[in-house]
């Protein structure tokens, strides 16, 4: 792992400390702490029901939580998602929550909603060009309604829309879910590229192998807690990860 070079990158860009959250009577997060340094790609893996999605919802303010969330050192706990997006914290939600009846172009445009005022047009156009470079297919399908896209293209559009918010930290909820192997490789290639550009990524995935292949560090969650953390390469070979998925509990 490369050493952080700038002053800002030395401390964590996103820091979560002792986060608790509940869905109704279910205590779904039981004191989760994690951090992501600037330019780092962090994977959060674990079996179904471990609380990974809940973690993302709590961090982005979709779900009320207790604990501490710091973005570049500033506390942002309890802020709603529409405010956090402006601060640079963007979630690419699971199951491709797109504006299904609207066109691909409109979906991307709405990603830049908080930069709608005059003076940002050039910047938005640059971002759009960058998204089109990453996913050329989105330019070709600009005028098509999002719901008519295939699953893989919908996922690309969801990531593209997230990038249009001009994030500092991009949180992604199971971007590989339900994708065929070829498409998984395509998305992973894009994630590598985003990483190379210095974007900070928090990747929540059930697909542990793929996620750990692209990540620098990883966290393994089980029943609302982080049970393991470490360098991605080390986790990929850890038998305890396999145990977490296919039976038995991690000590």
């Amino acid at each position: 792992m490369t050493l952080p070079s700038t002053e800002a990158a030395r401390s964590a860009l996103l820091e979560v400390r002792d986060l608790h959250a509940s869905y109704g009577p279910v205590h779904a997060l039981r004191g989760v702490s994690l951090s992501a340094r600037s330019g780092e790609c962090v994977a959060v893996i674990g079996p179904n029901g471990a609380g990974k999605t809940t973690l993302l919802h709590a961090v982005t303010g979709l779900l009320p939580s207790r604990g501490e969330i710091l973005l570049a050192g500033h506390p942002v706990t309890g802020r709603p998602p529409e405010v956090l997006v402006r601060a640079g914290l963007t979630l690419v939600p699971e199951r491709r929550q797109l504006f299904t009846t609207m066109t691909v172009a409109d979906n991307l445009l709405l990603g830049a909603f908080h930069r709608r005022r005059a003076g940002t047009a050039a910047e938005v156009a640059d971002d759009l060009a960058a998204v089109h470079r990453l996913f050329p297919v989105l330019r070709d399908r600009s005028a098509q309604p999002a719901r008519t896209l295939s699953g893989g293209m919908q996922q690309m559009l969801a990531i593209g829309r997230g990038l249009m918010t001009h994030p500092r930290v991009l949180l992604m909820d199971e971007p590989l879910l339900g994708l065929a192997p070829l498409l998984i490789r395509e998305i992973l290639r894009v994630l590598e590229e985003l990483k190379a550009k210095g974007l900070t990524l928090v990747l929540v995935e059930q697909n542990a192998r793929a996620a750990l292949a692209v990540a620098d560090r990883g966290y393994v969650m089980e029943t609302g807690s982080v049970v393991l953390e470490g360098a991605a390469a080390a986790l990929a070979d850890d038998p305890r990860v396999r145990a977490a998925y296919l039976g038995g509990h991690v000590e």
Partner: protein, 603 residues
């Protein structure tokens, strides 16, 4: 309870004595109209508080009742009591015919449908001159009579109106505490959960609506025989709003609140009629009235959504006199009964034929194939598990089997009987019970009432039996049986607690006991272990084995792989809505396709 009984007795004494006490400037007719309005408002509160629906057409049913009584007695010489019965039946029938279908639509279309109905009834009454006398109305309507004694005067009709209103409160109160009341509470909380227990939501809502119209029809009939005159003006849409304000002001969840609301608003209306003309231009005072009611309605909804009644009982210290949305079962818990057999199944005798056969099951959500040409069958007495990563389509399969969703293609057959495209309440009646990923328990009902809802299709009491308390024996027996189910899951000691007050793990068990009370042949458990502690999981495994031991076939969706491996006879693994493996747990666990699906393909 003595204090409460005393309060009720005191109230009745005041109601009975009042006609002999008022004199001079206060007219008894004001109190008479409180009774009539209360009668209608109680119906509206039953509809709103129990069925969760609002009608803006109660004035129309009031009018329908009034005109049926007027026309049958005046034009056809029919006995007024028979006319009254026709008035009640006519109002209820119109409500059922119009409301029945509209209530199939969820959401609040009934409000607009009833509002439309009110305008239609008003237009018809004003224009059907030959029958209704048009805008000038009908006069000379004969009074009610007992034998040859004609019933006339304020006092007689005061007692009739108040008798009817208080009877309506009593009938409604009984209804709420019955099988029907439980079904309505279930529908209010979750139509999906109610339907999977065999309850047809639209059926119960439509009948409650018809009942509320019947109360209004009776009020209309009493009204015309009292005044011996009828014209269209009292039955306009504005009066429907006034009635709604009465019911919301008193507290729509409380039937006595409707009486209180009717009293407050009727008196306020009288006061405004004397006060307003002093302040405003003449001719419009009736209009100003509606504004004040509007502001009152807004204030109540925003500042005291529960209405005035809860404040009154707190003020008088009558905590037990809730008459609430749900009074709770007042009966003492019955002594513990020996466990009853969960089912008397002959499935084992069927040998090789499957209990459940699913063929080519397909569900498409827009572009997404959630379930794709899936076929499998489950043998009688088996514990069968569905596994697969997130989004594999497991819960969708449950929703398709239980009739909550309709398949795009494919068939579901239970023991030779096709359940394809059957609504969820019929699937439940055919013997399939289910639980949900997040327990769909009815938080405002007691644990025992939750379980009794599982027995819904085996109990008989309908609206009439429930209102007249003819079902007490059935209820007692059901309560005893309920306790047996609760003992099976270890919750017998908390049967009278509100289900919502239990911890999460216990809520799952309540849902399980409720599903057992259906006496299912097939039990679908959707992630029964999620959110449970390790100890609770161990108990769950024992419980599921015991349920199977009683002859119930079990299908479960579960993420806890270890739990499934130790419990299931066979496992079906899904990915992208398709089967990727099926077989005994040990074999499935070694299947490279399954490992790939769970841990992901090597990148």
């Amino acid at each position: 309870m003595r204090r409460e009984r005393l309060a009720v007795a005191a109230f009745l004494a005041v109601v009975i004595a009042l006609p002999w006490a008022v004199s001079g400037r206060i007219s008894l007719s004001v109190f008479l109209f409180i009774g009539l309005n209360a009668l209608i408002a109680v119906g509206l509160s039953l509809l709103g508080g129990q069925a969760g629906q609002v009608s803006l057409g109660q004035a129309a049913f009031y009018g329908i009742g009034a005109y049926i009584s007027a026309i049958t007695t005046l034009r056809y010489g029919i006995n007024p009591w028979v006319g009254m019965a026709l008035a009640i039946a006519g109002a209820a029938l119109v409500a059922y015919v119009v409301g029945g279908p509209i209530l199939i639509l969820r959401g609040h279309f009934l409000v607009l449908g009833t509002l439309g109905l009110n305008v239609i009834v008003d237009v018809v009454i004003r224009n059907l001159q030959s029958l209704t006398g048009g805008p000038s109305g009908l006069t000379g309507i004969p009074p009610l009579a007992l034998g040859v004694v004609a019933l006339r005067g304020d006092r007689v009709y005061y007692y009739l109106a108040w008798g009817a209103a208080l009877a309506a409160v009593w009938l409604g109160h009984n209804l709420i505490a019955s099988r029907v009341g439980r079904a309505l509470a279930a529908v209010r909380a979750s139509e999906v959960a109610a339907a999977t227990l065999g309850i047809n939501p639209a059926h119960y809502k439509a009948r409650t609506f018809a009942l509320s119209a019947a109360f209004a029809g009776l009020a209309g009939s009493l009204y015309v025989h009292y005044l011996s005159f009828v014209s269209p003006s009292p039955f306009v849409f504005e009066f429907s709003i006034t009635l709604l304000v009465m019911s919301v002001l008193g507290g729509i969840a409380y039937l006595p609140g409707a009486v209180l609301g009717a009293a407050i608003l009727t008196v306020l209306r009288e006061a405004l009629r004397t006060l307003l003309p002093r302040f405003f231009r003449a001719g419009a005072s009736a209009e100003y009235e509606i504004i004040i009611f509007g502001l009152l309605l807004a204030a109540v909804v925003i500042f005291a959504p529960g209405g005035v009644w809860p404040f009154v009982i707190r003020l008088l210290g009558l905590g037990h006199l809730r008459f609430s949305a749900r009074p709770g079962s007042t009966a003492q818990p019955p002594p513990p009964a020996p466990p009853v057999p969960v089912t008397s199944t002959g499935d084992q005798a069927n040998g090789g034929t499957p209990l459940l056969a699913v063929e080519h099951l397909t569900k498409r959500f827009g572009g997404l194939m959630a379930v794709n040409d899936l076929s499998f069958s489950v043998r009688p007495g088996e514990i069968y598990a569905l596994m697969g990563p997130n989004g594999a389509g497991k819960t969708t399969v449950f929703n398709l089997i239980s009739g909550v969703l309709r398949p795009t293609r494919g068939t579901v057959v239970l023991d030779g009987r096709s359940l394809t495209h059957r609504p969820a309440y019929d699937v439940a009646a055919a013997g399939i019970a289910r639980t949900f990923q997040t327990p769909h328990i009815f938080a405002d009902l007691t644990v025992a009432e939750n379980v009794m809802l599982g027995m819904h299709r085996r109990l008989r009491a309908g609206f009439v039996a429930a209102m007249l308390r003819l079902s007490r024996r059935e209820e007692r027996e059901a309560q005893e049986e309920t306790l047996a189910y609760l003992e099976q899951v270890g919750l017998a000691t908390v049967s009278e607690m509100l289900a919502g007050a239990l911890p999460f793990g216990a809520q799952r068990l309540v849902e399980m006991a409720r599903a057992l009370a259906v006496r299912p042949r097939l039990l679908l458990l959707d992630e029964p272990a999620s959110g449970l502690s390790a100890a609770e999981r161990a108990g769950l495994v024992i419980m599921i084995r015991r349920i199977r031991g009683r002859g119930v076939t079990v299908i479960l969706v579960e993420h806890d792989v270890g739990l499934v491996m130790g419990l299931a006879d066979r496992v079906l693994v899904l990915n992208y809505g398709q089967r990727i493996a099926e077989g005994i747990p040990a074999a499935v666990r070694r299947d490279p396709g399954v490992i790939g699906a769970y841990l992901g393909e090597p990148a």
